[in-house]
């Protein structure tokens, strides 16, 4: 085995140019594929980042003023929701996975020790963070059902609030803060990238606490919802709005009184874009790979042709067809395997370098973030190349091994 390997390395060394050309073809094929995949992933990540931490099926509904007269009511009437609306949605509309209302009172004065800040204060129930399940919790927990039921005086604060009151490395969990002169215990810290991180300048308290302790009534400023799996988010959104319009005496044609945003739409567009990007990557990558394979096959054919005389001599000296074929194949596997591996390493290296450069320089490109390599795909491509390259070499190799020695030796070479 070692002996055979030495024999192969020896012949490869004797044919440096041919070996180098084959190796480069394979190297380039793998390298391009990996580079493209990495870059494509970078684009995808960049686009996904632009969705910040919102689940891609989130529906947000808020209110405005009426713009169409309806049922004898004039224009310019402000629509405002209550938690009865949330209950109605929950009971009358099918396909709702989560729905919740967020109550807001604008900025409150938040005090901890000697430090004071002004932050938006919201009342939410335990469903809110189930809808916004992509928002990372940096410490502690979110608002839970018992907080809501027992009207606990607790708060989940944004990272900007923590930075302001406790310092970036401070631990606010368990600390007592005062919000508009009401004492609350901090139970969690979240970080929300929405609005370039400004949505982290908020704190949440249980909806019941917000209603009773802060005396804010049962208003709802923003309705958050997510559809069940297999439910069309667009249809659900329309159903909810239809119900709300009925409940609030709003004309079906009024577009201003009830407003909404559904992440499903841009998400769908982006998904389509990803499919297109991926198709392009695979098209180009497989093209390059195919070129590599064709290159290997060609070179194998040339190799075998060039070496027909040598093969004849070896056979005359007692080489079996098996040893001829296996030597030729081992050569091809060794070259393609090694070159492919190098392509893999260099490709991954460059993609990683790119990612590192982006991170260190802090460059923020909207549509390019965190390029990375799907290793499984890369290895599959490599194995594919080696296997196909080998199969391509197999046919001329077997043919060469079959020629009678005299005939083989007659060829010039």
């Amino acid at each position: 085995m070692i002996d055979g390997l030495q024999e192969i390395l020896y012949t490869l060394k004797q044919n440096k140019l041919r070996t180098a050309l084959t190796a480069f073809g394979v190297f380039w094929g793998i390298f391009m594929l990996i580079f493209l995949l990495g870059a494509g992933r970078g684009m995808q990540n960049g686009v996904i980042d632009s969705f910040a931490d919102n689940a891609l099926d989130t529906i947000i509904i808020w209110s405005g003023t009426t713009s169409v007269a309806h049922n004898g009511q004039g224009l310019g009437r402000r629509v405002s929701y209550t938690d009865d609306d949330i209950e109605a949605i929950r009971h009358h509309i099918d396909g709702v996975r989560f729905v919740t209302g967020a109550n807001s009172m604008g900025q409150g004065t938040v005090v901890y020790g000697s430090k004071t800040g002004f932050f938006d204060v919201y009342g939410i129930d335990d469903t809110y963070f189930k809808i916004r399940d992509q928002v990372p919790i940096r410490a502690g927990r979110t608002i839970q059902i018992l907080d809501q039921e027992q009207t606990r005086k607790v708060a989940v604060i944004g990272s900007a609030v923590r930075d302001r009151l406790f310092g970036h490395d401070g631990n606010p969990i368990g600390a007592m803060i005062r919000v508009n002169n009401i004492n609350l215990t901090v139970v969690g810290v979240f970080h929300d990238r929405n609005n370039n991180g400004r949505d982290s300048e908020r704190l949440f308290v249980p909806y019941s606490t917000f209603t009773k302790t802060f005396g804010r009534g049962n208003q709802v400023h923003v309705i958050w919802a997510r559809p069940d799996a297999n439910v069309d988010g667009k249809v659900l959104e329309e159903n909810i709005i239809e119900l709300l319009k009925k409940r609030h005496n709003v004309s079906p044609d009024d577009r201003r009184a009830i407003q909404s945003f559904n992440f499903a739409e841009p998400a769908k567009m982006v998904k389509g874009m990803f499919v297109a990007i991926n198709a392009l990557i695979w098209f180009v990558g497989l093209g390059t790979l195919t070129a590599g394979i064709v290159g290997i096959s060609n070179i194998m054919i040339i190799t075998v042709k060039e070496r027909t005389r040598e093969i004849g001599i070896r056979k005359a000296l007692g080489a079996t067809p098996f040893s001829i074929v296996s030597t030729l194949l081992m050569e091809s596997i060794l070259v393609t395997g090694f070159a492919g591996y190098m392509g893999l390493v260099v490709g991954v290296g460059i993609v990683e370098l790119m990612a590192y450069g982006l991170e260190v320089s802090g460059a923020k490109m909207d549509f390019f973030q965190r390029p990375e390599v799907d290793f499984q795909v890369a290895v599959t491509a490599l194995v594919l190349l080696v296997v196909v390259g080998t199969l391509a070499g197999l046919i001329p190799a077997i043919r060469a091994a079959k020629i009678a020695p005299v005939e083989a030796m007659r060829s010039d070479g």
Binding site: R309, L317, G318, M409
Partner: protein
Amino acid sequence: MIKLNNIHKYYQTGEQSIHVLKGIDLHIKEGELVSIMGSSGSGKSTLLNILGVLDSHDAGHYHLAGQEIKHLKERHAAHLRNALIGFVFQSFNLLPFKNALENVALPLYYQKMGRKERNRRAAQYLEMVGLSDRAGHMPNQLSGGQKQRVAIARALVTQPKVILADEPTGALDSQTTAEVMEVLKHFHGLGNTIVIVTHEQDIANQTQRQIHLRDGLIDTADAAMTPEVVV
């Protein structure tokens, strides 16, 4: 050792087929030193290639060391070539990218002999042909006579029963021809069966028996000229 009965060989060139060997009967005993003569194109090389299992015959029977050579599997043929036969070609057929020692050692590689032992044996045979000092030389750094001696060492290194040489001195001058013949005769002295194809009467005269090919047949009139070997 070698027994041919009514051997025929055709070559197919395009539409027509050439009848090259037209019924060769030949018996070569173990330990014989035989030469094959004949004009160019008479089929000497063809015959020798068949003897060396490098080519196949189309009709007749060929027995080598008691074994019928017919429809052999390539793998089996390879083993026969490796174990029984040492072939010396007119054009040397050394591998250009291997040095003298490696060329000589190559048949042993196909016997799966270890590298050390291989090189030791190859060196021993190089010494026998007087080329110890050229072991590391590449074929293109050797003279014609030296190349042919390397080729002979390579043919002999497996200690084959039969040595077949196709015009081994065809490309050599008289001085190197004499050297090569010395080597061959030396190995004959060790008990090997040797068949030499040659154009030169000089060389044929140094063998025990001369076989003349004419037009694809053995010229029996000539065979009678060397009666002392026909037993």
